[in-house]
């Protein structure tokens, strides 16, 4: 009789020994063969679950001390103090058991527990629960708006998770996925040219959002809307935009086409390309790695990944470079004094011996890392602190504002910051982006060794060598041609009009070979449907240029890495009628990525393509036809990612009535 897969499974669960008919079935059935293989792997790995970390007595003691520190730092008032008291007390008792094990009958030596323990434990438990209830109430009040801003701090100890969880429960302002947090952002709306003829924003070379979106999709889940930052998706990919040929370190390119979701709307691409620096001419680097070794970093995709990534980076360094390592957890310490890049062995050894332990004291670590970088400052070289963390700065006496001002001060002295985000679960995307933004730096999310290779090796010069800083873009629209417009992405990079001329105003940096793309969706004046105003006549006094073919005028300001005065570049953009399918490969690809991101963000202006089942084919068609050179296969990966997201996007497969 023929054995079915179900029979086979039953046989498996009935007896480990396979009979002949079962053996025969496995040989024929690939599904069951796979199951057998998996079973073997499971059996092989299960015993390794035993290897879980049991803290040493010393570690437990340290934790108690740290917890006390945290509570002191938190200064949350007597309520938490009392809780800390109860918590620390119980931990101290535990330390008693473990530390003094060589001493006779430790437990019995404690207060008369053997006799009265029941009563005591109950009393302690009651007290603890009562305190917890009080704290809960207090937090509920804070988050209901009566607070003194605790929610806006970086969080200390229990506060970190409390803040996330509570704001979620109480409908607070942050989006939390698990315990992850993302700054909320709303899409840029259309602006009327009559009311706002000028748009100003800072460039952004971060790419973290794409890697993070990819992590979500690969895990079988669509990312939360606020985790999707359009500009970071678009700028993740290499483009074939030509590098500058003149004296400016940046080339400014523009292109006009149509929006696939709204063919009457035009899409204007503004692309900046920073000059290349070949590896041989790379200026000397003074790098200080600042590595989070707190307990939360011990997952395989955190510290081990960071270590592997840094080892790859170190291989690229030479005798002209220097590397220092600072770690932070319960405290912060220098693991490796700045060492020549040629001393590979020494550096590797220092990286390899990093281990996790303790909670996170981010601010002290940052201060120490900056101090080290400053001591070994290389004039005319790359001076950079490379921060690797899951972003959970949960212990530290410093509030968010203080931390940012620390970073900002150092950024002014020429020490820039690269933030490498890792991990998941309690990943603090908003914190990381803000840190890199304020620290004149860039921010990448490492979800795999492959991504680490991209950020630290393929784009090493871009990540490490800044060729222009405080890069701002200002676009003025021609009111005789444009009715309204919106910028796709860059929501948290918008600047006031006057900021463009203000050299004190901080903006984004560009590293060597970086390409930054911004897309404007533009509605022609003729297609504009706005009721006229009662009190104002929409008749501005026009200059001569308004009568030309110009659609808009792009201005760009940048400073050289050590400069203080900005340089202006400008370029008028002529109106065009090129449809998207005839546009350049770069334009088509950027548009595809933008459309993908807008869909994930639930953009309301996608007209017919709001329907996912119609949107995904367009995304795929645009991307597939514009793979270009794609030497590292990143564009191809995007196409695959879109395919996966399509399957996840329930509405994409829902039958249309």
């Amino acid at each position: 009789m023929q054995m079915t897969c179900h029979d086979f499974e039953e046989r498996l669960s009935a007896d480990d020994v396979l009979l002949d008919d079962a053996r025969e079935h496995v040989e024929q059935c690939t599904a069951c063969a796979a199951l057998m293989r998996a079973l073997r792997d499971v059996d092989e790995h299960l015993p390794r679950l035993r290897e879980a970390e049991a803290p040493t007595a010393l570690q437990i003691e340290q934790r108690v001390l740290e917890q006390r520190e945290t509570m002191r730092a938190a200064r949350l008032g007597p309520v938490v103090w009392a809780m800390a008291g109860v918590g620390a007390l119980s931990l101290v008792v535990m330390v008693g058991v473990l530390v003094q094990r060589e001493e006779p009958v430790v437990v019995a030596a404690l207060p008369p527990l053997a006799a009265q323990d029941r009563f005591q434990v109950e009393v302690a438990q009651k007290a603890k629960e009562q305190k917890q209830a009080e704290v809960r109430e207090k937090f509920a009040k804070l988050f209901a708006g009566e607070g003194d801003g605790v929610g806006s701090l970086l969080g200390g100890g229990a506060r970190g998770s409390l803040a996330g969880t509570l704001s979620n429960v109480l409908g607070g302002s942050q989006t939390v996925s698990g315990n992850e947090s993302y700054a909320p952002s709303t899409n840029n709306g259309f602006k009327n040219v009559g009311e706002a003829p000028v748009a100003t924003f800072s460039i952004d070379v971060d790419t973290a959002s794409y890697a993070n979106v990819r992590r979500f999709v690969n895990a079988g889940q669509l990312p939360p809307k606020d985790a999707v930052r359009l500009e970071e998706l678009i700028n993740y990919f290499p483009y074939e935009t030509a590098p500058p040929t003149g004296k400016d370190p940046i080339a400014l390119h523009t292109e006009v086409s149509t929006a696939p979701w709204q063919p009457e709307h035009k899409l204007v691409r503004v692309a900046l390309r920073a000059r290349d620096i070949n590896q041989g001419n790379r200026p000397s680097s003074n790098l200080v790695f600042l590595i989070d070794v707190s307990g939360s970093m011990s997952d395989a995709n955190k510290l081990p990944l960071v270590k592997a990534a840094l080892l790859m980076l170190v291989e690229q360094l030479t005798a002209n470079d220097s590397v220092g390592i600072v770690v932070y957890a319960g405290g912060a310490g220098v693991v490796l004094e700045p060492t020549r890049g040629s001393a590979q062995q020494e550096i590797r050894a220092a990286i390899e011996q990093l281990q996790t332990g303790g909670s996170t004291h981010g601010s002290a670590g940052l201060a120490k890392a900056y101090a080290l970088a400053k001591q070994h400052y290389i004039k005319g070289g790359t001076n950079r602190v490379i921060l690797a963390t899951d972003g959970d700065f949960n212990v530290g006496t410093t509030g968010r504002e203080e931390l940012l001002s620390l970073i900002q001060t150092h950024a002014k002295t020429g020490v820039f910051l690269t933030a490498l985000g890792v991990g998941m679960g309690n990943y603090k995307d908003d914190t990381m982006e803000l840190l890199a933004d304020k620290g004149n730096g860039n921010y990448a999310y490492l979800d795999s060794l492959r991504e680490a290779r991209k950020v630290l090796i393929e784009q090493m010069s871009g990540t490490l060598v800044t060729v222009a800083k405080d890069v701002k873009i200002q676009v003025e629209f021609n009111p005789t041609r444009v009715g309204s417009y919106r910028l796709l992405g860059y929501e948290n990079r918008l600047l006031a009009r006057k900021d463009f001329e203000d050299d004190q105003k901080d903006a984004g940096e560009m590293g060597a070979s970086h390409v930054v793309t911004a897309l404007y969706e533009v509605v022609a004046l003729s297609a504009q449907k706005v009721a006229p105003l009662r009190y104002q006549q929409a008749a501005p006094v026009l200059s001569e240029a308004a009568g030309t073919q110009e659609l808009l005028h792009v201005k760009l300001r940048y400073k050289l890495p050590e400069g203080t005065q900005s340089v202006l570049m400008e370029k008028p953009v002529l109106d065009g009628t090129n449809v998207i399918d005839d546009a350049s490969a770069d334009m088509r690809f950027a548009t595809s990525v933008a459309l993908f991101g807008m869909g994930l963000r639930g953009d309301l202006e996608l007209a017919a393509l709001s329907d996912a089942s119609k949107r995904y084919p367009v995304i795929e068609r645009l991307a597939n036809r514009s793979l270009g050179q794609d030497p590292h296969g990143h564009r191809k990966d995007f196409v695959e990612l879109v395919g996966k997201a399509k399957r996840l996007d329930v509405s994409a497969v829902a039958p249309t009535p």
Binding site: L12, S13, L35, A38, L49, A52, V106, D117, S298
Partner: protein, 192 residues
């Protein structure tokens, strides 16, 4: 080793002052490993482990030497973990994020020179760790007592106070369930 382990509580009851300390040291690692696996987060593990050893100390006089010490210890561990989980369901909503699946499970002691190759094994282990969390509580208890606490079928039956055949059934179902999850994961990876 097994014999000395066997008599530890007996020695303690007979007034040997060092026996209980030895017992704590002996079981520290498997107890922590088990607690980690049933989803007690790092922040609470010290507390729960403490609770376990208190209970053991209290219950020591009732220990019958014929009983396996390991089964005896893990009876207490399993109960403590469960009562923690119950409490957590009540408080967890307000005080901690409820997801514990990403608790760092495995300590990396290996040299990181081969961190790259290592990462894969680590990921497998981490996956297994989270997969175990997805099993039904009954299956999870049994497979963890088997794999982590290294109890044999009889000891598990004693520790959980369930019939021997039920232990066997749960154990096999848990293994097949895990294997199926692994197959699903692999086929997903292939699609990707």
């Amino acid at each position: 080793m097994v014999t000395s382990e066997h008599v530890l509580l007996q020695r303690h009851n007979d007034g040997d002052a060092t026996a209980f300390g030895e017992l704590v040291e002996l079981y520290r690692r498997p107890v922590y490993a088990y607690l980690a696996r049933v989803g007690v987060p790092v922040s609470a593990r010290d507390d729960v482990a403490q609770d376990v050893f208190f209970k053991l100390h209290k219950a020591a006089p009732s220990y019958v030497p014929e009983r396996q010490l390991r089964a005896f210890v893990f009876t207490v561990v399993a109960n403590s973990a469960r009562s923690y989980a119950r409490k957590r369901r009540v408080w967890g909503r307000f005080f901690e994020s409820v997801s514990v699946a990403q608790e760092p499970a495995v300590r990396l002691s290996d040299a990181v020179a081969d961190a790259v190759a290592n990462t894969e094994a680590q990921q497998m282990l981490q996956w297994l760790d989270s997969a175990v969390q997805k099993l039904s509580p009954a299956q999870r208890d049994v497979i963890l007592l088997h794999a982590v606490a290294q109890l044999d079928h009889h000891e598990i039956a004693q520790a959980l106070r369930i019939p021997l055949n039920t232990v066997k059934t749960h154990l096999r179902r848990a293994r097949v369930e895990l294997a199926k999850m692994l197959v699903r994961r692999r086929s997903q990876e292939e699609v990707l």
